[in-house]
Symmetry: C2
């Protein structure tokens, strides 16, 4: 694992790391914001970004570093897909392939050998963090935006002890029923929709994969993707059916952008690290 | 003047405006962040961005909107050059032409007809703001970064009453003596270096164009451009000679990036709007 860059911000260090991933069989990058060391026990926030993003978007646009420094929280932002490959169709559209890994373990030819972002995040990156960075291992939380909100939900539901709490901004909650998700799942998982269910937050809840803690979701009411792609209400209904505690807040007038995320990110940090 | 987009952030609105400029004879864009209306008198901050930037960089990366909303400060960020032209050499390099207007009034053939960013900012944009946005006209401050720090300094020194206070991050303080500035001044102003002096902050100070208030500068000590391009100490010496009040702070370990700006932007906002 090699450090690519380190920049001082709010007294701490924003670092870009690269390593050769055993899971994706490609180089992978992630950003870490490490606050200046304090004596208080340090929590860590794993942030998963959305379509077209890489390890930079959240640290550049969220405005969160000051509050993370203040609260002594380690931040980790992985890239959203393997890079440097030339798979069929990988670079043809913004919503499939590079920049659009969807945090699943692909099984289709070609993609199945590399696009294993679920195992990358949950196993390889998690272990790298434990081995290389100082934080309280019981205080690891997960959050994300849009495709990354989907990632945070499915990873949090499938790993209720590894991640102490889960939140999301504008998540794709029911990808099996939405064009973005259907395109991705066809390409990464094939045509058998039964196999899609283990990567769909609504289906996981309905299958009993619930958590004992409350999930926090913020969703802009003016989000252009709300009705067609995000389907927030389907998750509210699934949680209602299975008694999953959920605090889903529709924020009046906000859209899908980082201007929305930055407005409420402090509240998510407080939710994870009260 | 037409609004291109409006996005809600921290209760206010981030707007992108476009108009046909009489000064540059091109369409020009600027960003405005307008906090949710409050009864307290509203100040306004004019921010000038650096090389390669446009009207988006500061609002995306500075993390300043929350504090501007809290303090009820209007923010205005113009683009850094005219766009849509095809002048000789205009698009060949990052440090001249598009994205690199240097806030001067060009006089060379071709550029002299369009690259008049000084008049654009000081006259046309200023008048548009007065006519179209609510703020206390005696509370207009100016700041900027790198090339935009140079712009803030020369505009503030040449207009001591129009702008109530001046600050800068990592400014190019003595462009006549630095490669970026020399290239730009050759291209925009021609070979007569006597004419360069009215666009150089150090020369303006030495010619007696001082202000009665203190100028604030923050400069990262690890800035890769410090020794060759920024020449901060030349400005400190000029201010010393002419008794210009200056608070120039070298911030240990910080570089030239927005991770540096975001760390100290609140202190600049407090400097301008105590």
């Amino acid at each position: 694992m090699q450090i690519q860059s380190s920049q001082k911000s709010f007294g701490g260090e924003l670092q870009i790391w690269q390593h050769n991933s055993e899971v994706t069989k490609t180089p992978m990058r992630f950003a870490v914001y490490e606050p200046k060391k304090k004596e208080t026990p340090r929590g860590a926030l794993l942030w998963l970004s959305g379509l077209t993003c890489n390890e930079h978007n959240f640290v550049t646009k969220s405005g969160a570093l000051e509050y993370l420094a203040h609260k002594n929280i380690l931040l980790v932002c992985p890239d959203t897909s393997p890079r440097g490959l030339k798979l069929a169709g990988e670079h043809d559209s913004y919503d499939f392939g590079s920049g659009a890994g969807f945090y699943v373990n692909a099984t289709t030819p070609g993609y199945g050998e590399h696009y294993r972002m679920y195992d990358y995040v949950v196993k390889e990156l998690h272990d790298l963090l434990i081995s290389n960075f100082q934080f309280h291992h019981d205080k690891l939380a997960i959050s994300g935006h849009s495709m990354g909100g989907h990632g945070a939900l499915i990873i949090g539901l499938k790993n209720p002890t590894k991640f102490k709490s889960v939140s999301a901004f504008s998540p794709i909650v029911n990808p099996m029923r939405a064009p973005w998700g259907q395109k991705a799942f066809h390409g990464y998982l094939g045509d058998d929709q039964v196999k899609w269910k283990e990567w769909d937050a609504c289906e996981l809840i309905l299958a009993g994969k619930t958590r004992s803690d409350t999930i926090l979701i913020d969703q802009g009411s003016n989000d252009e993707y709300l009705e067609k792609e995000l389907l927030t209400k389907n998750f509210m209904e699934a949680c209602e059916v299975k008694n999953q505690l959920l605090n889903c807040r529709f924020q009046d007038g906000y859209d899908h952008s980082y201007y929305f995320i930055s407005t409420f990110i402090k509240q998510h940090i407080d939710f994870h690290f009260a």
